[in-house]
């Protein structure tokens, strides 16, 4: 028997997303991924001073809150022909890296584990820890938000549920500390205003660096003691998710964190067959056939054949998966492959669980990288090579960087000091793009073949599949970025 199942809205993500699936029996045979909110950032920037893009594109997304400011600054440096100060580059990596870690923590604890852990088991707790009772009270006191969905395949394990619950709350506290570290350097989060082309405006002092180091240490401690072990525990309980949510198998990643002798990531592509090659910018192509945009890039919500506000992204004509997993795959990271071994994974493949583990692995690797990078900061050297704001450049600038969710490119075009064009190629557009040229979008492909529970979960009033939710969330959707 065939039927249609729609999840609209998908919650616990960034943005407005609807997933429509077609089922034959209990198996997904067709899927449509639709982004449902548009603002028009690329058009809103036209006519403005180029440097304003560093502040305005930052606001594309409040979860990936530092990545666009950084990518825009790199693009503007290219446009103006400005070389950033070496301290400025270090500070930028310190901000980007710690921000990515906080982003991953939020994704795992607040957005992901409510799909896997049944927090009503907290009510069975009989121990002495008041924090657990407080947490139970918090969940019950806001029952409309934190109750009502029964996870039928959740581990029946009070101790594990209590650990995960405490980490759910502790992750927020650790992010607060990390936020203080980021604010020491950049003024405040979300949206560090100190990030400008050429470096960072802040007068960096030794005590500010100590604040940052302290925040980094506490974050590292949480990652090592809770985040990493708990993702492994989750993978142990949900082994079937190593075989679910597989995309086409093509990965694309930009280079980033390149200041140390051993860079964390170099740009590259890995094809479904396993062959790896360096990435070239010209390979990336935006296709708007199925998007509510006309040929001039203006919104057209009545366009025939369109079903999403997201543009499709192709690389050499093929859809690609981006994100921490893709970055690790194209760089053939041996440490991460070792981490997958106990789960009978001999290679880095696309799946729900490898995406979750890749984020945790990356968080730990970033913490190590940043700790090693910190001492290279030169206290008496400039934080910024300031730009002449009165210069009136004509030309184009590229800003290649990364976000928590994958490869990020900004491209600014200017004429006599005014923006004439701005192109944003954003991670979630790679992952959440629609079907074009006969090829399913990355997440659409990942949904095909999924077997869903025939009956809706108890307590759910509609046919909202938990399996589909898990697959979609494993890509860490950010629709505000994808559409912008």
């Amino acid at each position: 028997m065939s039927k249609t199942m729609t999840i609209d809205p998908v919650t616990r993500i960034e943005g407005h997303l609807a997933i429509e699936t077609h089922l034959e029996g209990d198996q997904v045979t067709a899927a449509k991924v639709a982004g449902r909110m548009y603002r028009g950032f690329e058009l809103l920037l036209i006519g403005r001073h180029p440097v304003d893009a560093a502040r305005i594109t930052q606001r594309i997304c409040g979860i990936c809150h530092e990545v666009h400011g950084i990518a825009a600054s790199i693009a503007l440096e290219d446009l103006y022909g400005l070389k950033p100060s070496s301290n400025g580059l270090i500070l930028r990596e310190l901000i980007l890296g710690l921000h990515l870690v906080t982003d991953h923590l939020f994704h795992f604890y607040q957005l992901t584990i409510p799909d896997y852990i049944d927090f009503t088991q907290l009510q069975r707790y009989r121990g002495q820890d008041d924090r657990v009772r407080k947490l139970d009270r918090l969940f019950r006191g806001s029952a409309g938000t934190f109750a009502g969905t029964k996870i039928t395949d959740a581990p029946n394990d009070t101790a594990l549920t209590v650990e995960m619950g405490l980490a759910y709350i502790e992750a927020i506290a650790v992010r607060k500390t990390a936020g203080s570290g980021l604010a020491s350097l950049g003024g405040k989060v979300p949206f560090c205003h100190a990030i400008l082309p050429g470096g960072l405006t802040t007068g960096i002092t030794s005590d500010l660096l100590m604040n940052y180091a302290n925040a980094l240490d506490k974050t590292t401690d949480f990652v090592q003691r809770y985040y990493l072990p708990q993702t492994l525990a989750l993978a142990g309980h949900f082994g079937q998710y190593f075989n679910m949510g597989q995309s086409h198998g093509n990965f694309y990643g930009n280079g980033a964190f390149t200041l140390l002798k051993e860079p964390l990531y170099t740009a590259g592509v890995m094809r479904a067959g396993g062959q790896r090659e360096p990435a070239h910018f010209a390979g990336a192509e935006e296709v708007i056939d199925a998007s509510f945009l006309d040929a001039a890039g203006k919104p057209d919500h009545e366009k025939a054949g369109a079903y999403s506000w997201v543009k499709a992204m192709l690389y050499d004509g093929a859809p690609m998966e981006v994100g921490p997993l893709a970055r690790l795959a194209v760089n053939r990271n041996h440490d991460f492959m070792k981490m997958l071994k106990p789960f009978n994974q001999s290679a880095i493949r696309s799946s729900v669980m490898t995406r979750i583990l890749a984020r945790a692995y990356e968080a730990q690797a970033l913490c190590r990288y940043l700790r090693e990078l910190l001492p290279s900061y030169q206290l008496e050297q400039p934080t910024i090579n300031a730009l002449d704001m009165l210069a009136k450049p004509t030309g184009t600038g590229q800003g290649m960087s990364i976000a928590a969710r994958g490869a990020l490119n900004h491209q600014v075009t200017a004429q006599d000091g005014k923006v004439t064009g701005y192109r944003l190629q954003v991670p979630s557009a790679w992952n959440f793009g629609p079907t074009v040229k006969g090829q399913l979008g990355t997440v659409e492909e990942a949904l095909i073949g999924t077997r869903v529970q025939a009956e809706p979960a108890k307590g759910a009033s509609g046919s909202d599949s938990i399996e589909i939710g898990r697959i979609v969330r494993s890509f860490d959707p950010c629709l505000a970025c994808a559409i912008h």
């Binding site: 609209d8 809205p9 409040g62 979860i63 938000t145 709350i169 979300p190 949206f191 802040t202």
Partner: protein, 318 residues
């Protein structure tokens, strides 16, 4: 056990935390006593937003969103935190709205043309938001997009983006409103206001002729800036690389036209604030944000803030 004495002390602490004064102790105490019986349900709706305002609350300043919830509870709907999804989620939102008397917090602007530029479930948000707002005890616009239109309404305004107030006026919905502008909203500004409403059942005292909480927006940022002294002595930042302490007015600072207590309240566990990182206030809490004029040019070249007049105006303040 919580004794009466301890309880009143806790109320005083919260009053200090929220307002920097003990003035509210009594009304907070009465409010929290009511709350035990009657927590106000809170629902969040995301319009054309970026989720920066929610992220801001989650980072918090001294206290974060979960601290607030463990004190006042009642969060019934939040798109980024709710465990439910799809129709279950929408049904829950409808149920809370139908019960009435709830706090509706809106993040983001509302597109009027095309309405299809933002959905809530299967409906364009424009078509259904008025129904939810009409049933609310109060509508809080969190952030500059909801408060004033913000970035989506800037430039050519590609989607006919409206502020919540303009949208509700158009839809002829009359409901008490509170504006918490900011890009993003300051966590204290939003959560302090929610705590005040929850505790007293009243709207926080408002700035004259506005819907802004007076506590946070009565003064211009410039007047409370730690670099004000440099301003009065004509000491200005010329080169970001060399000057780290001077007034940022000549770098385009919008402090003199932006109502906010940012410089004294500070951000992220009171660690810092934009101006302290040696970068001008970009006026993200101003109704003019993100401005038609260039953000980083010397004020004399900025159309909406002539430098000569600015100096005169600010020099003669009070």
């Amino acid at each position: 056990m919580l004794t009466r004495r301890k309880f009143l002390k806790k109320c005083r602490d919260i009053s200090l935390l929220m307002c920097g004064s003990t003035l509210l102790t009594r009304s907070l105490a009465e409010g929290f006593m009511q709350l035990v019986k009657d927590p106000p349900p809170i629902a969040f709706i995301h319009a054309q937003n970026c989720m920066g305002c929610t992220t801001s609350m989650l980072y918090g300043n001294d206290y974060d969103f979960f601290d607030l919830l463990s004190h006042i509870g009642g969060l019934e709907v939040h798109p980024a935190l709710s465990f439910s999804q799809g129709t279950t989620y929408i049904d829950n939102l409808k149920k809370i709205a139908d019960q009435g008397n709830y706090l509706l917090v809106i993040e983001g602007s509302i597109p009027a043309k095309p309405r299809e530029a933002c959905y809530l479930g299967k409906d364009p948000l424009f078509n259904v938001l008025a129904g939810y707002a009409a049933k609310a005890r109060m509508v809080i616009s969190s952030g500059s997009c909801a408060s004033h239109g913000g970035i989506p309404a800037s430039g050519g305004n590609q989607t006919g983006a409206l502020s919540v107030a303009d949208y509700l006026k158009l839809q002829k919905v009359e409901v008490p409103q509170l504006l918490i502008p900011g890009c993003p909203a300051h966590p204290d500004h939003l959560m302090g206001s929610i705590a005040y409403i929850a505790a007293t059942g009243k709207v926080p005292p408002l700035k004259k002729d506005s819907q802004l909480p007076a506590e946070y927006f009565n003064e211009l940022l410039h007047n409370r800036c730690s670099r004000f002294q440099h301003f009065t002595q004509d000491m200005f930042v010329e080169d970001y690389a060399k000057d780290k302490d001077n007034c940022l007015l000549k770098k385009g600072c919008r402090g003199p036209i932006t109502p906010s207590d940012c410089p004294v309240r500070r951000w992220n566990q009171r660690t810092s604030v934009c101006v302290e990182s040696n970068t001008p206030c970009i006026g993200c809490m101003s109704p003019l944000w993100p401005f038609d004029s260039d953000l980083y040019l010397e004020t004399s070249q900025v159309e909406d803030l002539p430098w000569s007049k600015m100096k005169e105006k600010v020099g003669n303040r009070r």
